[in-house]
């Protein structure tokens, strides 16, 4: 087993060490499934916050178990590790939910405490959707240039830093408070994800895997459809009035 190496060491690998890979995978699925469980309980109108906390804690602990006992073992078999962006969003969701005062119920949407459920700016969702389609098509060698391979290069890191800065700039100019928060949260998550990737090579050694994974891409489709439907309904309602 190779010891830890800083990324600037000449012999450093661009893939994570096996121990880092395993820890990252278990933590990743713990955060993702924990947030997913809380989301489902809230959707099912389970109002008791303590119950939700206990369920979330149990699922997180279950995911951290070793080998076949852990859902991470089976999810890793099928889907490897969630992106750091998805992990960040899920971690933020869990943090904000667990911070909720005992006995209170955070609103299901439009809330300042529910980053996964509140309305995301459609432009941001479209960026994720288009990026995902490009990477998915690249998997099947649709383009002349191999775009996934660029995720191993410093150009990808520069692109991620540029995108995070762009989000910060947009957040400063956004007139909508909720959008401003989303842009800032995502900029911070992308910066942290990029830093973790550069230092520890998680989750795979390729930056695109750190920023976007197929599950997050699929979620972006669902959220975008939801935003469009709500906007359509809102316009219809305004027209009727």
């Amino acid at each position: 087993m190779m010891g830890f190496q800083w990324p600037w060491e000449a012999s450093a690998s661009i893939t994570p060490s096996l121990s880092m890979l395993s820890v990252g995978m278990h933590l990743g699925w713990a955060l993702t499934l924990g947030a997913g469980a809380v989301f489902l309980l809230r959707t099912a109108k389970v109002t008791n916050v303590t119950s939700r906390r206990i369920v979330a804690l149990l699922i997180v602990l279950l995911c951290l178990l070793p080998n076949e006992w852990s859902p991470s073992w089976w999810l890793g078999l099928a889907f490897q590790t969630p992106s750091l962006t998805l992990q960040g969003l899920c971690g933020l969701y869990l943090f904000q939910h667990l911070r909720t005062q005992h006995g209170t119920t955070a609103p299901l949407s439009g809330s300042t405490t529910a980053p996964l459920q509140s309305r995301w700016p459609l432009g941001l969702l479209l960026v994720a959707i288009i990026a995902g389609w490009v990477l998915a098509l690249d998997t099947f060698a649709v383009f002349d240039i191999a775009l996934y391979a660029i995720g191993f290069t410093p150009y990808a890191v520069l692109a991620a830093l540029f995108f995070a800065c762009l989000l910060q700039l947009i957040s400063a100019r956004s007139a909508h408070a909720q959008n401003t928060r989303h842009y800032r949260e995502l900029a911070s998550i992308i910066l942290i994800a990029t830093a973790i990737h550069v230092l520890f090579r998680l989750p795979t050694g390729n930056l695109w895997d750190a920023l976007l994974d197929p599950w997050l891409w699929i979620m972006a489709h669902g959220l975008a459809v939801d935003v469009v439907l709500r906007k359509t309904r809102s316009h219809k309602s305004e027209a009727t009035n």
């Binding site: 087993m1 893939t15 096996l18 890979l21 078999l77 099947f140």
Partner: protein
Amino acid sequence: MSVIALLQATHRSEPAPARVSLASTDASSIRLVKSAGGEIPMPPNTPAAHASTMAPLPANHSSLIAAAWFAGERESAPDVRIAFSSFDKAEQRWTPARFIADRESLGKALGFGIRRLGNPVLWRDDDDRLHLFVVGTGIGGWATSRIIHLQQSDDGTDAEYPVFNARAVLPLSWLWNLSHLVRNAPLVLADGAVVLPIYFELGTKYPTLARLDRAGNFRGISRISRKGNLLQPALLPVSENRWLAYMRMSAGTHRIAIAETKDAGTNWQDRPDLELPNPNASVAALNADGVHALTFNPSSTGRDRLVTATSADGERWNISAELALGQTGDEYSYPAMLWHEDTLWVSYTDRRRHIAWQRFTIVRESP
């Protein structure tokens, strides 16, 4: 440490030329003279074998070369493991086969499950450590495969049965890292690094390369061809920077496909298919001290005959040795070749029951 230096450190995949002998000869004056052959012993109670690979062992090792293959009840069976044997110098025979990798222990090392094991590929690095690349599937068949990299954990000098530890899962695609497989031997470069020929096979099939440095650290990927019917590339270095990739064709003309690079694998161009037929079967290619050798099934429909051909230019081939000729429906397939100590070694699947091997000396005759 500046940010730029940090960024540069993440991208050190300068292409190196191949480690290659340029003593090319007119292929018509080349003969392959068989000096030995037979079957590599199977592990006890193991009825099926497939997809062998070979690697040279260090000079001070008790064995000359190593071979590995997957074996179990049948291909894709849950009990399939990676078997290993080596050719003992003193005894001049293969050691009893033992299993060196299984999906249970690999899963425990990686932290996630593996459903099936397949195609192994061996590589000995310049520090005499063996590396083993093996296909492991997720949920589904071979199309959900990933490539797992294992490395010999002992010093490699005289372990009759090396111990391998999992080292990495090669990151090869964004879509849950699905559907990349390995089959043929890596090409060793001048600086000790290697390019490992691999392929994608979910829906479309295309060949690609993974680069690893001399220590086995993964360094990146580049694509060989975008044609959707080519797989299992076998690399042949014609010169330091000009390499040819021979590929199995899953559909189309049923001939061996070929692609060429003139810049050590950075850019590739498809070439017209060879005149040689291909029954959707794996081929092996090798530069044996300047003699180009290609082992393949010379039929567009069946795997019942297996031959080795030689060539001076990598495009016009003469059959130099017939390795196997069976009945219709028999299978002699998935060849591997190794050039070691002036001897050409060929191994192949013999009717899925065991791995056969043959050894040749190359005779250059004056016209």
